[in-house]
Every structure is written in structure tokens, then in C-alpha cells.
């Protein structure tokens, strides 16, 4: 029993450190991305708030993982799922704020993110399902609110360009 406990404890310890490192790196790259790509001027303060909330969530999760160390280790899968869900929602919310909800780029980013989740984080099936579900629900919600009648193709020159602006 002791050996099993030791193995489990060391495994959780390693996973805990990995999750913390991941949170730091995600927060760092998201900050860089935000500074480089600032988005649409129309939703400037909304974007600031959305991005700041996401940053606070990431770094707050990092800090709280130290404050509630035991709880964090016991429910590490749950908190990983929670963070993944928040990230998925943030992708969609940012797309919606920048009027890019129906953009193929947003769909590609979302799919890449959902594929990367199980591969890199190795979340369990149930948790992956929860993440997918949260993403889909958020996407549906914003589809209904912002673009209930679909998107719009606008001609530019001799070709048709897909500009992803909801009608």
C-alpha cells in the first residue's frame, strides 16, 4: 500500500508541476499574442476586459494551486478541465467580440485546441467531453445572440471574399 501511495503521490506531484508550468506558459504566450494582435477597435474595452479576465483566471489558478495545494492535487483533472473549458470559451468570446464568429480561422483554432487538449494534457474521456460540450454550448449561444441569420459574403474586386461578418 505504501509503495502504491508513493507512486501515486509522485505522479500527482509531477502532474501538478506540469499543470503549473502549462498555466504559466499559456498565460505568457497569451499576453504576447494580446499585445501583438490587438483586434478590432470597436470592441476595445470589451477586449481589454475579456483578456484581462482570462489572464487573471490563468494566473489566479496558478497562485491558488499553491494556496490549496492538497485540494489541487486531489482534483487536478477537474481543474484542468475547468481551465480548458475557460480557454475554449475565451476563444469563442474573442471571436464574437471581434466579429469573427463564423470565421474559418476561429473554427480551425477551436478544432486545433480541442485536438491538442487530449494529446498534450491527456485529459480523460469524461473531461474531454465536458470541454467539447462547453465549447459547443458557448458557440451556439453566441451564434444565436450575434448572428442568428448566418454570415455574409462580401464581394471584393473580381472574387468573393469571405469576411465572416454576421448579418
Amino acid at each position: 500500500m505504501k509503495r502504491s501511495f508513493v507512486h501515486t503521490a509522485s505522479r500527482l506531484q509531477v502532474r501538478g508541476q506540469t499543470i503549473r508550468k502549462g498555466l504559466l506558459w499559456v498565460a505568457f504566450f497569451y499576453m504576447l499574442y494580446s499585445i501583438i494582435e490587438w483586434g478590432d477597435q470597436h470592441f476595445f474595452w470589451h477586449l481589454v476586459v475579456a483578456r484581462a479576465v482570462y489572464i487573471v483566471l490563468l494566473l489566479g489558478g496558478f497562485a491558488l494551486s499553491f494556496v490549496f495545494e492538497d485540494h489541487f492535487h486531489r482534483h487536478i483533472s477537474f481543474y484542468t478541465t475547468l481551465m480548458l473549458s475557460f480557454t475554449g470559451m475565451d476563444i469563442i468570446v474573442e471571436g464574437a467580440l471581434q466579429r469573427q464568429l463564423y470565421s474559418p480561422f476561429l473554427v480551425i483554432i477551436l478544432i486545433m485546441y480541442l485536438v491538442a487538449g487530449p494529446i498534450l494534457v491527456r485529459t480523460r474521456f469524461v473531461h474531454t467531453t465536458a470541454v467539447c460540450w462547453a465549447s459547443i454550448c458557448t458557440f451556439d449561444f453566441f451564434s444565436l445572440i450575434i448572428g442568428p441569420s448566418g454570415d455574409q459574403n462580401i464581394p471584393a474586386g473580381q472574387k468573393w471574399w469571405y469576411v465572416c461578418i454576421p448579418e
Binding site: 506558459w25 499576453m31 476595445f44 481589454v48 494566473l59 478544432i111 451564434s143 441569420s149
Partner: protein
């Protein structure tokens, strides 16, 4: 059509749950379908989208329920397959004459099942059970379903061993090979509970992964540790027969060592090698924290306070506080005290408060460190008030700019120097003071970086208030994460990583952004060259100091000869202080330009 898709999805997910990597592609297909349907149908009716996606959600939920219902059967099947695969490999190895190493409990139970002994020695299950699981067995690896390694179902007598094998733990001693255990109530564990308790996969983590190349610091720690043990063995009187003099530090893997008999030589080399093999160059404070097993930094400090005056291992009273000035060599330092690399003499340990303050004016290896912080602190304190009152550019600037610059200069030039000087002066009192003062020094450096980045960020995003707000929030977040890493004394990798990311973002982003916008000809194309020059000079000086400190130049080339004067830490102080002073000129230049060039 929808029902067909649901059934397909369920079948795919049911299969994917056995192959998690493939499950990722299942997600891909699912999301692609959903997004495609959304785009196609949005033209007609939003309700269609909702219905479609609801169907997908219901499918997923159904799969979850199905998974839960069949979870145990599925896991049992998977582990039985893996076990049979492993047993097949071992039996094949024996058939071909290969000796199977019996180094783990897993191997032992596997051999017991096969009635095979490795022939080398009687099987020692107790020893084997405490052995680490070999790396090859840590990860589950499945062979092809129809592989010849698959064996027939095992007999009833082997059920216990197999259960133990699967669960990776042992409730009772398992007999040696050839004497398989009978089925007893104590040893029988229900397969379901054992399988539930079984770790799904072992981590690849190994303590040996932490073992890095032995550096000079570790060698010194080793020598100190051996010296302390010898001292205790001699009744704590410190009369060790043969000591390492500072000049004969174990230079190359214990070129000179201290043995239990106190004699240098081969036995010493063995001791050194043994100790080297178990030592890992990890941070002293972190190690103490982990060993203490307490929850956070302040609990740790309180614990140290409670332990004050007691020796950790022997329980004998620790050395009393000194009231007479007496410097020590690095060999006499206590365990918690990390010496400077290549500096062997002039350490102060267990000094009283009074003696600490008096030691400011005596020569030891911290004297120059103290004064290279206190002199700039005193000078800058006076100059800051003068400059803020009489500098025409600062006086003419807006209130917000003046406040930002004043706070920035205070943190960069005064607060950091004061905290660093106090840490160098007072850390030698006790174990608790050592931890607290160096933590304060570290935090003051973080505050200095934060203040500098906020002022530079303000100037960089002067006409972009939204980006300025976001930058400030981000920097403060990274600052807090770095502080949390220190206060809760997390792993060295997390602390270092957090600090590096913080410095990179806080200092790198405004600098690169400013350079980029200037090169690209953006809004700040007419930023004065002088401002960028001061900024570059500041970064170059700090980087140079960091390089000198990290490489321990010049004492690396003159070990033991630059203990009091000319050590790298003193140069580090000079470079950092000089670089920080230049920020004043940079900010002054910017404010002068901004006064003439509004947004």
C-alpha cells in the same frame, strides 16, 4: 440521418476510449461536423443549429453513460491483455536463454506465475517489492491483439499474484518462485477493487532525472556535509583529525576527501563518490521546505523558529549566538547556509544583532557587498529628493508622469539597494533570518523589475491607454505569480521559470515594441534616439552583471583569493546599480520629448 450520426459517434467514441490518442481525432471530426453544420444551416434557421448541436451533446452524454456502465469490464480487459503481453515477453526471453532481471515486484510476481526462477539467487520478494519499477514497465504498452505472446487464461492459484501484479501493490508477502501462494482471505483482493486502485499509467518521473552534473557548489555542500558528520561523530567538539583546508577543496570529484577515519585517500574518494551520487544540486531553502512538509512559507518560517537552537539530526543544542567577531570558513557553515562558489573564507555565522551591525565595519566576504549597496542607497536617497524638486523637466511634466517616475526611481534605486544591503548584512544571524532576508531580497528585485516595467510600459503605450492597462495587468499578474512561487517555496524550476517569464515580459515587450514601431515607422517613429540609447545601455549593463554573477568570474580563476575583494557578486552590484541609475536619464529624455510632442 442524425440518428445514424449519433450511432456512428457512439461507436467511434466507444472504440476511442481504448485508444485515447485516436480519440483526439474523433474530437476533430466531431467539431468539424458541428461547425460545418452551423455555417450551412445558419442561413435558414438558427433553431436548426441548436437542434443539431443538442443532438451532438446528447450523443456525447450517452457515450459518457455507456462508458461509466462498462468502465470496469473495459479496464479489466485492458489490464489482462497487458499482463498477458508482459508475461509472454518474459516467457519468450526464458525460452531463448535470456536471463530476466528480477529487480521489481512486478517481475517477481510475473516469474512466480510462470514458475520460473532467474537462477541467480533465491527470490527475495521483500527486497524486490521496494525496488523501483523499471522504466520499461512504467508505461503500459500493448501488443497486437493476435500476437503470439498472448497466453491462455491463468490458473486459479495464480489469481492472487496476478491481482497483486495488476494493482502494483502488495497486501501480504508473496512467497518465492516455485512456492505459489494458496488462496487466502488476507491476500485475495477483489479484481475490481484492485483494478480500480491500479494506477492507469506510471509516470516517467524518476529521481535520477533530477540528478545533474556536479558543480562546484555541490562539491562544497558535500564537503560541508561530510565535515558536519565528522564533527558530530567526534562529539560535536569540532576536533576533526584531518580537515580540508580551504585550498584543498575536493577539486575534481573529491580530489581530497574526508573519510570516517578522517584520512584522505581512496576511502575518502569512495565517501565522496557515494555522497555525490545521492546529492542533487537543488536549492537549499526548497529542500528544507520539502523536508519539513509544512504548508507554506510562513509555516516554514515558524517551524524554523521552533527549531531554533536545536540541531536537526542529533537534537543537540545548536551553536550559541556569537558575541565576539569571528569569521568562519565554508567548511564550518551549517547545512542551510549556501556559500558563494569559489569563496572559502570570511563567512559570518550565528552572529547576534549587535555583532551583525558592527561587522559592517570589519573585513569579511560580505563587507564590499554591503557597501556597494548602502553607498548607492544613501546617495540616491538624497539625489532623488533633489532631482524631483529641481529638475525642470520633471517639474514641468504631468502629475501622473511625475508620480510614476518618482515611484519607479524609489523602487529601482532605493528600495532594492536597501533590501539587498540589509540581506547581505543580517542574513547571518540564524536559520530563520537567512530564509527571511534572502526572500526579502528576492522580492525587492521583483518589485524593482515591476516598477521599471510599469514606467517603461507607460511610456511605450503612452497613446494607447487600453494596451497600457492590459500590459500593467499582465505584468502585475506575472509579478504575483513569481511572488507566490517564492513565498510558497515551490520547485526551483517553477520559481526560475516564473521569474524568467516575468522579466522577459516586463522588460522585453516594451523594448521590442518600441524598437519595432520605430523601425516600422509607426506612431512613435520620432522617439528620440537618446532615449533608446539610455535604455539599451541600461539593459546591457544589467545583462553584463548577470553574466558575471552567473559565471562566477573572476573568482573562478582565482579560487579562494578573491574572498573579500573583487568577487563576482560585488561586480554584479556595481553593474546593476549603474544600469539602474541610467533609467533616470532615459525617463528624463522621454518626458522632455513627450512634453514637446503630445499624442
Amino acid at each position: 440521418m442524425t440518428a445514424g450520426r449519433c450511432i456512428t459517434l457512439m461507436a467511434v467514441s466507444r472504440w476511442a476510449c481504448l485508444h485515447r490518442r485516436w480519440f483526439a481525432w474523433y474530437n476533430f471530426i466531431l467539431m468539424f461536423t458541428v461547425s460545418k453544420q452551423t455555417r450551412c444551416c445558419c442561413y435558414h434557421s438558427p433553431a436548426v443549429v441548436v437542434i443539431l448541436n443538442s443532438c451532438v451533446c446528447v450523443c456525447l452524454l450517452s457515450v459518457v453513460v455507456l462508458m461509466k456502465m462498462t468502465h470496469r469490464v473495459e479496464v479489466a480487459a485492458r489490464y489482462e491483455f497487458l499482463t498477458n503481453y508482459r508475461l509472454g515477453l518474459i516467457s519468450r526471453a526464458h525460452a531463448t536463454g535470456v536471463v530476466v532481471p528480477t529487480e521489481s515486484f512486478w517481475d517477481m510476481t510475473a516469474l512466480a506465475e510462470l514458475n520460473i526462477s532467474d537462477g541467480a539467487s533465491p527470490v527475495d520478494i521483500d527486497a524486490a517489492s521496494s525496488a523501483p519499477v523499471p522504466s520499461a514497465l512504467r508505461r503500459s504498452s500493448a501488443g497486437p491483439a493476435g500476437s503470439p505472446e498472448r497466453r491462455a487464461p491463468m490458473s486459479v492459484d495464480n489469481a492472487t499474484a496476478r491481482t497483486s501484479l495488476l494493482s502494483g501493490m502488495r497486501s501480504e508477502p508473496v512467497p518465492a518462485a516455485g512456492a505459489l501462494p494458496s488462496k487466502s482471505p488476507e491476500t485475495v483482493v477483489s479484481p475490481t477493487s484492485a483494478l480500480k486502485a491500479a494506477p492507469r499509467e506510471y509516470s516517467t518521473f524518476s529521481p535520477s532525472a533530477l540528478h545533474k552534473d556536479i558543480d562546484e557548489e555541490t562539491k562544497q555542500a558535500l564537503a560541508r556535509q561530510l565535515y558536519q558528520r565528522l564533527k558530530r561523530a567526534n562529539g560535536g567538539r569540532g576536533s576533526v583529525p584531518t580537515l580540508l583546508s580551504p585550498g584543498t577543496v575536493p577539486s575534481e570529484a573529491g580530489g581530497a576527501g574526508v573519510t570516517d577515519s578522517g584520512v584522505d585517500g581512496e576511502a575518502g574518494l569512495d565517501s565522496v563518490s557515494t555522497a555525490l551520487s545521492i546529492l542533487t544540486p537543488i536549492d537549499t531553502i526548497s529542500q528544507m521546505f520539502r523536508e519539513s512538509g509544512v504548508g507554506n512559507f510562513w509555516s516554514f518560517v515558524n517551524l524554523l523558529t521552533a527549531q531554533e537552537g536545536r540541531d536537526d539530526e542529533s537534537g543537540r543544542p545548536d551553536v550559541a549566538k556569537k558575541n565576539v567577531y569571528e569569521a568562519s570558513t565554508y567548511l564550518e557553515l551549517p547545512d542551510y547556509f549556501a556559500p558563494y562558489p569559489y569563496i572559502y573564507t570570511g563567512y559570518r555565522v550565528n552572529f547576534s544583532w549587535k555583532l551583525c551591525w558592527e561587522s559592517m565595519f570589519k573585513m569579511h566576504n560580505e563587507t564590499v557587498n554591503i557597501w556597494t549597496e548602502f553607498i548607492p542607497f544613501l546617495v540616491c536617497l538624497v539625489l532623488l529628493f533633489v532631482v524631483m524638486a529641481v529638475d525642470p523637466i520633471l517639474v514641468a511634466s504631468s502629475g501622473q508622469d511625475r508620480t510614476a517616475v518618482a515611484l519607479g526611481l524609489f523602487c529601482v534605486l532605493i528600495l532594492r539597494a536597501l533590501c539587498s544591503g540589509l540581506a547581505h548584512l543580517l542574513h547571518c544571524q540564524s536559520r530563520r533570518a537567512y530564509v527571511v532576508f534572502w526572500a526579502v531580497d528576492y522580492i525587492s528585485i521583483c518589485v524593482c523589475v515591476l516598477a521599471m516595467s510599469i514606467v517603461f510600459g507607460r511610456f511605450t503605450f503612452y497613446c494607447l491607454p487600453q494596451q497600457q492597462v492590459f500590459f500593467n495587468i499582465s505584468v502585475c499578474g506575472l509579478f504575483l505569480s513569481t511572488i507566490v512561487s517564492v513565498v510558497f517555496v515551490s520547485s526551483a524550476a517553477i520559481r526560475t521559470g516564473s521569474f524568467i517569464l516575468f522579466v522577459l515580459f516586463a522588460n522585453g515587450v516594451p523594448f521590442v515594441y518600441q524598437l519595432t514601431t520605430r523601425v516600422a515607422g509607426g506612431a512613435s517613429e520620432d522617439i528620440p534616439n537618446e532615449y533608446l540609447m539610455w535604455w539599451c545601455l541600461n539593459s546591457a549593463l544589467v545583462s553584463m552583471g548577470l553574466l558575471i554573477k552567473a559565471t562566477s568570474i573572476p573568482e573562478r580563476f582565482f579560487p579562494g583569493k578573491l574572498d573579500n575583494w573583487g568577487a563576482s557578486h560585488q561586480w554584479w552590484h556595481l553593474f546593476v546599480t549603474s544600469g539602474n541609475v541610467l533609467t533616470y536619464f532615459a525617463w528624463r529624455t522621454y518626458l522632455d520629448w513627450r512634453h514637446r510632442t503630445p499624442c
